[in-house]
Every structure is written in C-alpha cells, then in structure tokens.
Homo-oligomer: 166 residues x 2
Amino acid sequence: MNSKKGIQRFPTPRHNHATCVNTAMHQAEDYCNRTGVRLTQLRRRVLELVWSSHRPVGAYDLLEQLEPKGRKAAPPTVYRSLDFLLEHKLIHRIDSLNAFIGCNQPGHEHDAQFFICKACGEAAELIDPKVERALVKDANQLGFNIEKQTVEIAGLCNRCHQGRKK
Amino acid sequence: MNSKKGIQRFPTPRHNHATCVNTAMHQAEDYCNRTGVRLTQLRRRVLELVWSSHRPVGAYDLLEQLEPKGRKAAPPTVYRSLDFLLEHKLIHRIDSLNAFIGCNQPGHEHDAQFFICKACGEAAELIDPKVERALVKDANQLGFNIEKQTVEIAGLCNRCHQGRKK
DNA sequence: AGAACAATGTAATATCATAACATTACTCAA
DNA sequence: TTGAGTAATGTTATGATATTACATTGTTCT
Ligand SMILES: [Zn+2]
Ligand SMILES: [Zn+2]
Ligand SMILES: [Zn+2]
Ligand SMILES: [Zn+2]
C-alpha cells in the first residue's frame, strides 16, 4: 500500500492485502526485537486483527474476534493490547470513530493525517509536511506547544463517490 | 476573544468573558431569528453553559448543571439540545475529548482547527486557510471528497508551558 | 378549539473504556 | 534449577458517553 514517504494511495479493493499484513507484522516484530519489548501472542493476534482491513475497527469488534469458540474475552484483554500497540506506535487511534487502525510507518515517530471514507470505511494515512508546518506556524502564533495532533478527514473515497453519481 | 477572521488569540485569564458569552448569545439569537429556528429556553440554557468557559465541556457535566435543585434531567435532554446546537453550527464537538465548545464564528459554515491545552483545558479555535488548502490538495491527490475535517491539536498553552519550566 | 407538529420528559439500554485484584507466565540472579 | 521479582493476562465490576423508544407537553396555524 505504501509508495514513498508521506504519500499514500487510497487502498483499492484489488490490492494484495496479504502483503500489507505481512509487512506490518514483520515491521512490528523487527521493532519489538530492536527495542526489547515483547510482542506476545495476544498482542500479535490483536495487531493482525487490526490489520485485517484498512478500516478503523472498534475495540469490541476485536474482542468478538478474539473469542472464536464460546470462550469470552473481557474488555481489558483487548484494551491492554491496544494500549501496548498505541504506546509503541504500531497502531493509531481514530478519535472521531472510537476505533483503531494499523500504522504504516511504525517505529517512525509521527502524527499522521487520516482520510476516512464514510461509505466503505476505508482509510488512508498520510504524512503531509505542509499540514504539519501550517499547524506548527499557527501554534507558534498562539504560543502553543504541540504534543499531539489529531487530523481526521471524513468524506467519500473516489470509488464510493463515483458509485453515487446517478 | 475574536480578532480578525481566522486569527484567534488563546483565551487569557483576564479577558472579560462576559463579553464572550454576550456576543455568543446574541449571535445565536440573530441566527435563529434569521433562519426561523427556535432557540428554546433549554437550548439557550445549554448554550450558555457551554459558553461558561473556553474549555470543552462534557455532556454529563452540562447535565449536572441543568439540575440545580434535586430535579434530575436525563441524558436525552442535553444531547438533544447539543444536537440542535451542532446542527446549526453554534457549537463544535471535540472528538478527542468527547466534549463540546462554543463556536466563535457561528452561522458561518466552517470546519475549524482547535488547539487545546492539556493542563488548563482552554481551547482556541482557528480557521487557517493554509491548513485547509493543504488538506484539500491531499484529498485531491487521493481522489477523496471531504465532508468534514476534525483537526484537534493537544499540547500546552503558553501560560501553562511557562508555568512548567523549572 | 383542535389538528399537526415540535420539543421535552422518562425509562431502558447500547457502546466504549477503566479500576481493582487474582492468576499465570516469563526473566534472571543465586 | 529454583524461586523471587516482574510482566502479562484473566476476571469481575463499574464508570463514562450516547441512543432508542415511547409518553407528555408546548407551539403554531387554521
Ligand atoms: Zn492492504
Ligand atoms: Zn469508500
Ligand atoms: Zn471568554
Ligand atoms: Zn493551559
């Protein structure tokens, strides 16, 4: 799904998603090996579930998928894994949806901009320095010290938009 | 609190906040008169409560304040008023905080950028065309049609940041 | 006055998230 | 290798935010 840094295409239905998952899991493993944190079975499982699509997914959705046979997992199970993955920047939280999505520049410390289709749910992650620079400039004028940015753009992806024109 | 369009200062402790409230309430009244929608007692009350500070405030906080004597209001009471105020752009929702804040360009259709201090809770609303342009450009490259932008920057306001330096 | 509609009241429930404490798994020094 | 210390997970309960459904009241317009 990635092209060069800071430029992402919107996920297409035909892309080979197995590659996305594979890359993500390998990057996560590398990161955890490098930094000495533990990518346990549970955390790995949750990360895979988050990466099962390019749609932000809710914690309780993940929770359901964690219990294939009657066994029921409780919320802290998934929230703790999500917290770990967030802490290590392997996933992002989408505040406007109370949902989580895999990060495609893991390890690399960043805040990103998200474009999220209201119809199909797919999301694209971008890092646009122009957006960042504009926000930093505004912050400077306000005397404000930025810690975290939340930029989430809702709308229609190209495909869904085409599909709606009569 | 307003200076010229698109440029806001961060709210200072000494500004005359009564003026902010007054302006907001008059703008709301004007808007409702112009467009023929009803600013009922309840809606007015909720709007005043939202404007009681420059901090985003939660729905349940508002709810408590709505019931000064033992009378207890139920959630739909406040959520319906909030929905009305959102629909008519008299307030904004801050997704990253599940909270609401008065809009200082009401009537004027817009998405804004918010800078929110994690220490004191105060927030500044900006409309920076550079941010918008950068996002629109990104959207175009993605073939994405923007409907709504959520831009919420968390950090420290000048005063709180000063207060922390040793 | 009364029909039609808008707003509000009320009770129940859905959805998202965390606190507190018990248990299990892992690590590493002795 | 064992066991003490720590990290991770399990379990139960609860907190925080938000909506659904239906009853009642208020407003508008004839
Ligand atoms: Zn993919
Ligand atoms: Zn779409
Ligand atoms: Zn003020
Ligand atoms: Zn502050």
